[in-house]
Symmetry: C2
Subunit: 699 residues, 2 copies
């Protein structure tokens, strides 16, 4: 591609210019963006982001110009170079774990050390003995060995107890033998395993003298430390291209009777006595499940920001993009309307903007609850030691209602939060019209990379069973009268007291009634499900759809409640001006009323509200809220503080130079334009001239 | 990647084998797959597909082994080679247009001749004079020139009248000057333009003596016929990577005062008198809009099959994949349950299976209606000639109620059909769990390539305004008493007669009442919208969300009605056995009742049904239908007759060898496994050994 001639360089977009439109948009609102950002993230976090952003932007290897063009192999090579540099910077600047996470989030692509830095180190740290820390954790922390966490198999995902890989104790030489008895035993989807890892924590069924003791973690070296070639009996590789996440080498692993020493079984919680071959039971499995709760809570907290990226891009572009005149317009100039002015666009984008805030506040509350409960759980776990081997989390937690509540809450909110974010991103992408389909839009690849979150750490549909199980149990204890005092049992008790009188929630006039209506619906659905299960003896399988609805309803209640409570907080009035607070209240109402209207059927049938109220919720309240929030839309997305460098989006540019950027990327960065072809079918020549490689070199 | 050692080759998936599971599934049902396929597609069409499949499979260039691995540039090169070979085969085998379309569908990727073979030829044929046919169409049909259709611009999509490219008549030398006055005037998204086309039909605002006559089509040569380099004043290239569709070179085009001769304005409908410079009005613009209606009808017809690919893959895999024991199971063997047995999976997949049939029958009915109306429209158009210049389709069609009905129907169904297919494919992908995220699953890339269909040929949200406008107009004429007799006015009349008595549709007991309930809801929403617009004088913009709901409701009614009518057809009893007919009736009910339940709120508030009926619809009817349809699921997807070669999916293999195929592709075809890296961050060596190119060579 030759550089554009002068006449092309002289062209500007037709007016009004995007930059002027965004300026005008920002002038419509008095929200103090900086204060709102600090309220959402704290000043310290914003400064951290700024500091790390400057470090990254100065490094050529992190330049993003080529990201949307590379094929899989080149993508992976670049990601590896970036991962190495990230580690070097971490050492150089003495980055904390939080610093590292911020850098990772700014780069916004999964990298080949991803599972080493997270699950491998966490597992070694949490499940290894001091001796094992010395042997494995120390070199791993210094990147002398690179590891991964190999649990999922070709034939088994969610059902961990069904894993096929075996690990057999050999009393004669005090070793274990790891083995893949079938093709479906192949480890699969293991991040960082495909090309990168030297070691793996392998989850395998422990066998001692022919008896099975369930899945346990074993450290296994898989590649030579010098040649990086697979060791004998190890067949390992990358599982191939995915819908997204292609900078990561998710891998497979088959093991053919691979011997490992006794010390390689991670032994903090359970172990095998090397002398007697006796199995020693786990001392506190709750702590393991605590990690899962923490991971899910993190997903909830992140889901607001994940979605906010898409909403930022789509909202900014909707303010720059103009299509058609308003049909009732009397303006004869023919000037077109910003698409953000159309109610159909507002109806698609602004409830998602409200969701970003709702999920953010919910995630923060979850994290606080998690921290509080950690101490409590420690005590419970110590008290319950040795009594729960092999049981699932729902049974394990029976000793502690707080833990059970947190577990169920994290399951339900993980499912709701990640589904909302993933599906919301696609709504944002489509709201950008045709250009949303271009990779330069910046939403498509972000969406594609995020999608696995709906499946991992508990499939979003599977998780809803955990929530339902917990709610049914709580309902039973309320009926029996031996319920602990917590929010769930409180709303159930209220429901039972009032159900014959009816509810009469003033959802349009009172915010607390709005929260109560969501609580009412959860309670109604819980007791309905309980009736089906306990009285009508419905099979578990026949109730799965009900459980899924119940879990969704309950999680929506939690989000509404958390958003409401965040706005009641005293600190609000000291941090924010009244106008901003009022807009946040509108966002709360928009989230709640829009959800109520979308799920209308359950609100009717539970008699939480009347048909008339629902109709009004949409035709009056929601439409009015859209109108009231619309002038603040730009400043509200600005408050999420995504640097352009992070968004990497033509459509979402903070300065509104959408079309200039689209054109620059297409004409000056796009390697395909280095290819001159022979277009005629009767010629066997495909390519007349291939200069595609020059584009790569230029960057 | 070295070939797998013998111990790997010896491994099989753990039992039961996928092939046995699928055999057992097929044995559960007595549906005659062959007969059902012939009923859906006709025997002749199935034979055509078989014949062409065999031709394509014998050609090395169409081998799909490398499809999921290539980067953009390689993808495009391969697609060009395939496009050339397709054209050669077309000539060699004397393929008809239908043959070509079948080949295209089997290859299943957009190719660089895509817009040449469709819009370029169609436009030349439909809008050119005999002289222009000789000059442009003949060489185009022989691929001596390769063209594209350049309408959309960087700054304008849906609003064609807002296009910025100008074409000015030069009386002095009887030429036109094509020009891009702004950057946003750049043509954008133009298929086949980026690297392939030699010519373009450019839509530009015609100016004569300073006066604008609106957008018209002009033929413009853009590249040299020998060197394939852009001509002077032409700046053209590929617009860059997209979320999908990367085998196509969607392009941009800027023109700097490019002169074209008088003959290059396509002049069948309107033209400029070369002597006087007088503008000659279009003679029958309806015919142009007829093409759009045809394109939309095609999208409706295809949407069923598009979705059926995903449903086929997900259903087959759900029969092979096993996870967990049923919770109530008393089986102590520990053997796991096929995921298709879980009601949560059935609830996600089987209504989509029903949608495939519903959309297929609706599309067929649309096409028949279109053919019938073509003759009628021809007459109307001739009668109305010269009276409608520059008006949009809604005004143009006012002379013919049938045409207006078809236009509105095609808009609404295009939106509903393509949205259902696109979103349904993503549901199918997620229903495959983790493996659905692998490209080997075969749904992801198919979905990504299909997505633009929700935006092009009328954005799915924009189109709903056309439907609402038509329904409002029909309602007004029913109120006035001057309505033509058609289905729409008939259901409105029924509604007006009965609205005070209430409806009392027996949706659970009677299929015709089920159809009537959908008609009732459409009517209710129409008269509500009419009240807001005509009585309360609500602005058009304030009603867009109502219009979108109305259009969706009306289109769902049409699908339910068409599905119902297809099952009333006499031919059914001669073509199919009673068991198959009964299953089709169940699919009809599942589609209708599941839709009714999902959209419950509008069915309540219109009083089409009672709250109790809706509750029963889900808890009893839908769940029971899932149970009844489930044993037939495999045979029902088999009836869509997708060859494995077309699906290109490990998960959707007809023989159930899911895991073997996943493993083969990952370990033997995946180029990334040719890369041996240095994994340590303190080493600047990235790659120790790069054999990735060998994979390409091997294929």
């Amino acid at each position: 591609m030759t550089p554009p001639p002068q006449w092309v360089k002289d062209l500007k977009p037709s007016g009004p210019q995007g930059s002027d439109l965004l300026k005008a948009e920002r002038a419509k609102s008095k929200i103090n963006v900086e204060k709102l950002s600090e309220f959402l993230f704290t000043k310290a976090e914003l400064e951290r982001k700024e500091r790390i952003l400057n470090i990254l932007m100065a490094e050529k290897v992190f330049d993003k110009s080529n990201n949307y063009f590379d094929g899989r192999v080149d993508k992976f090579k670049t990601a590896l170079a970036r991962a190495k540099r990230m580690r070097q910077l971490q050492v150089k600047h003495n980055w904390t774990a939080d610093d590292y996470m911020v850098a990772d989030s700014l780069i916004s692509e999964p990298g080949p050390y991803g599972l080493h830095a997270s699950m491998f180190l966490t597992t070694l740290r949490g499940q290894g003995t001091p001796e094992q820390h010395k042997l494995f954790l120390e070199p791993a922390e210094n990147y002398k060995i690179i590891g991964c966490y190999a649990q999922t198999e070709l034939g088994h995902g969610s059902n961990v107890r069904g894993l096929e890989t075996t690990c057999t104790w050999n009393p004669e030489d005090k070793t274990f033998t790891l083995h893949s008895p079938h093709l479906t035993a192949s480890k699969w989807w293991i991040g960082s395993l495909g090309r990168t890892a030297t070691h793996a924590v392998v989850m395998a069924q422990l066998f001692i003298k022919g008896r099975s003791y369930g899945p346990h973690p074993f450290v296994c070296q898989i590649r030579d430390m010098k040649t990086h070639q697979p060791l004998d009996g190890v067949y390992v590789g990358d599982i191939g291209p995915k819908f997204g996440y292609n900078t990561m080498d998710n891998g497979f692993l088959l093991l053919n009777k691979v011997k490992i020493p006794h010390i390689n079984m991670l032994a903090k919680f359970s172990s095998v006595d090397p002398e007697t071959g006796k199995y020693l039971k786990p001392s506190s499995p709750s702590l393991i499940y605590g990690t899962l709760t923490w991971v899910r809570s993190t997903i909830v907290l992140q889901s607001g920001g994940v979605l906010a990226r898409g909403v930022t891009i789509a909202t900014r572009y909707a303010a720059v993009r103009r299509q058609f005149q308003d049909r009732d317009s009397t303006d004869s100039s023919g000037s077109e309307n910003q698409v953000l002015n159309y109610t159909m666009v507002q109806f698609r984008l602004l409830p998602l903007l409200a969701s970003c805030f709702a999920l953010h506040f919910t995630g923060k509350a979850m994290m606080e609850l998690y921290q509080e409960n950690q101490k409590n759980m420690q005590k419970v776990a110590e008290g319950n030691a040795d009594s729960n081997r092999g049981a699932g989390p729902e049974e394990i937690h029976s000793g502690s209602d707080l833990v059970a509540d947190l577990h169920a809450t994290s399951c339900g909110l993980k499912a709701l939060g990640s589904t909302t974010a993933a599906e919301g991103l696609e709504v944002c992408r489509r709201a950008c019209g045709g250009h949303g389909y271009s990779q330069f839009g910046g939403i498509g690849s972000w969406y594609a990379d995020y999608l696995p979150t709906t499946t991992w750490e508990g499939d979003n549909y599977m998780l809803t069973q955990q929530v339902a199980r917990y709610l049914l149990k709580s309902a039973r204890s309320v009926l029996k009268g031996d319920a602990p005092s917590n929010d769930t049992t409180r709303i159930f008790t209220t429901f039972l007291k009032k159900q014959d009188m009816g509810a009469a929630h003033d959802v349009l006039g009172s915010d607390s009634d709005l929260v109560a209506a969501f609580a009412w619906r959860t309670s109604f659905l819980t007791f309905e499900a309980l009736k089906h299960r306990d009285l009508e003896k419905g099979s578990w399988n026949s109730l799965l759809v009900d459980f899924w609805r119940l879990s969704t309803a309950h999680s929506q209640y939690l989000v509404v409640k958390n958003f409401y409570e965040a706005l009641q907080d005293e600190s609000l009035r000291y941090s924010l001006d009244p106008e901003t607070i009022s807009v946040l209240h509108n966002l709360f109402r928009l989230y709640a009323l829009n959800t109520l209207e979308k799920e209308a059927s359950e609100f009717y049938s539970s008699a939480a509200v009347t048909v008339r109220q629902i109709q009004l919720a949409r035709t009056k309240s929601v439409m009015k809220l859209l109108e009231e929030i619309r002038p603040h839309a730009l400043r509200l997305v600005d408050a999420w503080q995504f640097p352009d460098w992070q968004l990497d989006s033509s459509l979402g540019r903070k300065d509104g130079k959408v079309y200039e950027d689209m054109f620059y990327r297409a004409s000056q960065l796009n390697p395909l334009n280095g290819l001159t072809i022979d277009p005629y079918p009767d010629s066997d020549v495909l390519v007349k001239n291939d200069e595609t490689a020059k584009f790569k070199a230029k960057l």
